[in-house]
């Protein structure tokens, strides 16, 4: 290939630029980022919000198109060359690799690593500059490869422009993103919510929690070692699901659940069924030691916020205990008021958010100490006006990837179409 020969004779910085120059440029950008970050101190980087972000996008895209179409200097050509692309991707990968090893946004971190932004990479100057550089190269490449409109170029466009759109809209859009938390309480209409820094905002609508519901998995029973102060969970000794009538062997003890109460109250004789608030699950258990045939019977309960937990003592350092039931599903019935008279009722749960008045409302939590008796439900309200644009980009990427699956490495595909590849 005569291109290779030319490459050999070419001196550094003589056009066309290759890998050496590309990597020098990319690394310089990274280092400049570190330096700016170092001198900008504790000021956190903030991206511009609407409408400045839109104006910025329009300027950058017009700039790329005009320069690419009308100024065909060798530097402009370099901006859409594979070496430039690879160096930009590699440097960003390197930065994210550091981020992959260094704990992020950890309060305790300090020192030089923090000064150059490595403890908060995604809001640091090096990250901003490197991704902007990547975007420029991506943009120049897209414009150059737009024509002729063949299927191959179209797939190229879907992948590259899709990625461009996702990066631009997701990062610039983050400045217009609202994420607010609200603690709804049964029976009270609330329209105040808080952001992560604790600032309060009044929403254009109010929310009243009608009912908070929780479905739980049955509790488990396990052996607790007083010597090690922990539950014994290993391959041999596992937890046992509490189901009336079932039995299981845990570490030499045959455990039989003779009776199970979903909710219970303690009286002088033992435990009895109860539906009161805070009524904890309880089970009457028979434990038989397989070696000594010793038999121990008694009640076990995991307790709740207002009743005590009750273990069953087996030996001086071994107790049978019940774990607190885990939530399988929780949901809130809420009423959304536009005004005193105008309202509508909805149900939200994890994975099934609700969309009203431009906001998406997510079920995020509840009072975990109260568990299923919680009369408080924590919800998150998100307003993300750029979301449709992000989805357009994601959709383009998905379609472009489908093309990759179907065509593979296209120039070889024809050759090998009917032969077995392996």
């Amino acid at each position: 290939m005569d291109g290779m020969n030319k490459n050999k004779k070419r001196k550094t910085w003589q056009s066309p630029w290759g890998y050496l120059e590309s990597f020098i440029i990319s690394s310089s950008i990274l280092i400049i980022g570190f330096i700016i970050e170092f001198f900008s101190g504790d000021n956190l980087l903030k991206l511009p919000a609407w409408p400045v972000n839109l104006i910025l996008i329009v300027i950058v895209i017009s700039y790329i198109i005009i320069v690419q179409k009308f100024f065909k200097t060798s530097i402009v050509k370099w901006f859409s060359s594979p070496p430039a692309a690879i160096s930009a991707i590699s440097i960003l990968t390197f930065l994210i690799l550091l981020m992959g090893f260094i704990p992020q946004n950890n309060e305790a971190s300090d020192g030089f690593v923090k000064m150059i932004g490595l403890t908060h990479v995604t809001t640091s100057w090096p990250y901003l500059l490197c991704s902007f550089f990547l975007l420029l190269i991506l943009g120049f490449t897209i414009v150059r490869r737009l024509f002729p409109l063949t299927i191959k170029n179209f797939a190229f466009f879907l992948n590259h422009a899709g990625l461009f759109i996702v990066i631009v809209t997701a990062s610039l859009g983050s400045a217009d993103l609202w994420r607010l938390n609200m603690q709804t309480v049964e029976g009270r209409a609330i329209f105040t919510s808080y952001d992560h820094n604790g600032n309060s905002y009044n929403l254009p609508f109010a929310i009243k929690l009608l009912d908070f519901k929780i479905k739980e998995y049955p509790p488990n029973i396990g052996l607790y070692s007083n010597k090690d102060n922990k539950l014994k969970i290993d391959k041999k000794t596992q937890l046992m699901e509490v189901v009336e009538g079932s039995s299981k062997i845990l570490d030499n003890w045959n455990i039989i659940i003779e009776k199970y109460l979903n909710g219970s109250k303690k009286d002088s004789l033992g435990y009895d069924t109860s539906n009161a608030i805070g009524a904890a699950p309880a089970a009457y258990v028979k434990a038989v030691n397989q070696i000594s045939s010793k038999e121990i019977c008694g009640w076990v309960s995991c307790g709740s916020f207002n009743s005590l937990m009750k273990p069953l003592v087996l030996t001086s350092d071994l107790e049978l205990v019940m774990t607190i039931p885990v939530a399988r599903e929780y949901s809130s019935d809420i009423r959304v008021f536009e005004s005193m008279k105008k309202y509508k009722d909805y149900t939200i749960k994890v994975n099934e958010p609700l969309k009203v008045h431009g906001w998406t409302i997510y079920q995020t939590g509840y009072n975990e100490k109260m568990g299923k008796w919680s009369n408080m439900s924590i919800i998150e309200l998100v307003n993300d006006p750029w979301l449709p644009a992000v989805y357009v980009g994601i959709f383009m990427l998905l379609t472009g990837s489908l093309y990759l699956v179907w065509m593979g490495r296209s120039n070889q595909a024809k050759k090998t179409k009917n032969n077995d590849l392996v």
Binding site: S81, I89, L97, M99, G100, V382, I394, W406, V422
Partner: protein
Amino acid sequence: MTWYNYSLYVYCVSGSWIIGMILVYLLRKKRIKWLADIFLVAGVVIISVFTVGLWMELERPPFRTLAETRLWYGIFISVIGLVIYYRWRLFWMLAYTLLMAILFLFINYFNPDTFDKTLMPALQSPWFIPHVVVYIIGYAFLAVSSLIGLIGIYKMRKNKNTDDTIALADNIVYLGFAFLTFGLLFGALWAKEAWGHYWTWDPKETWAFLTWMVYLIYIHFRVSKKKNVKSSLWILSLAFIILLICWFGVNYLPSAQTSVHVY
């Protein structure tokens, strides 16, 4: 149709897939090759019939319990495996996907008591299965591509021709990379649905993204310098290390102490 009929279906499905694969091999040079196809497709049809039957019986989409989830794994993995096989004639991929599917179906068979086991609320989503299935497939492709990379390096040492090796590696990387992209994007769409944001730079997400970037480098490196086979093969082998960290190693990193993905 209920889980009581399940064993019959499991045997039929596994049987027809295994017979199908054996026939693919035995009849590969014969005119009656199509006989194998019938068995391969029949397996998918049978398991789908069971699932639809279950759906009608339960009067809700069977998407709730772990067992129901595995049923869908079985269906999706086998369908994707068949599509890839008919498009690319990759027999190992057919075998891999069908054996995975059989494995999932048999886990249900041997663990009938886990039909209703703990699935935390955030995982109870229609995105769960596509997200996991495409990752399983993507990782399989990329693992094989690294193997091919090592074979290539070995061949170079022995001064043998590597044109076919690198061409095959390229193709497998394209397929694997596409599935990785699906996995990443499905994950993002799901996170939006469950937590309100599509990307939070959680350590697992960070490493998944890194994996994706490394293969992106490989793809572009190949586009630009077709002759530079040796470096390409090395990139391919190194990329696999990142993939392994993402797959197994993330939980042990200092940066991962607060991950939602630790399992």
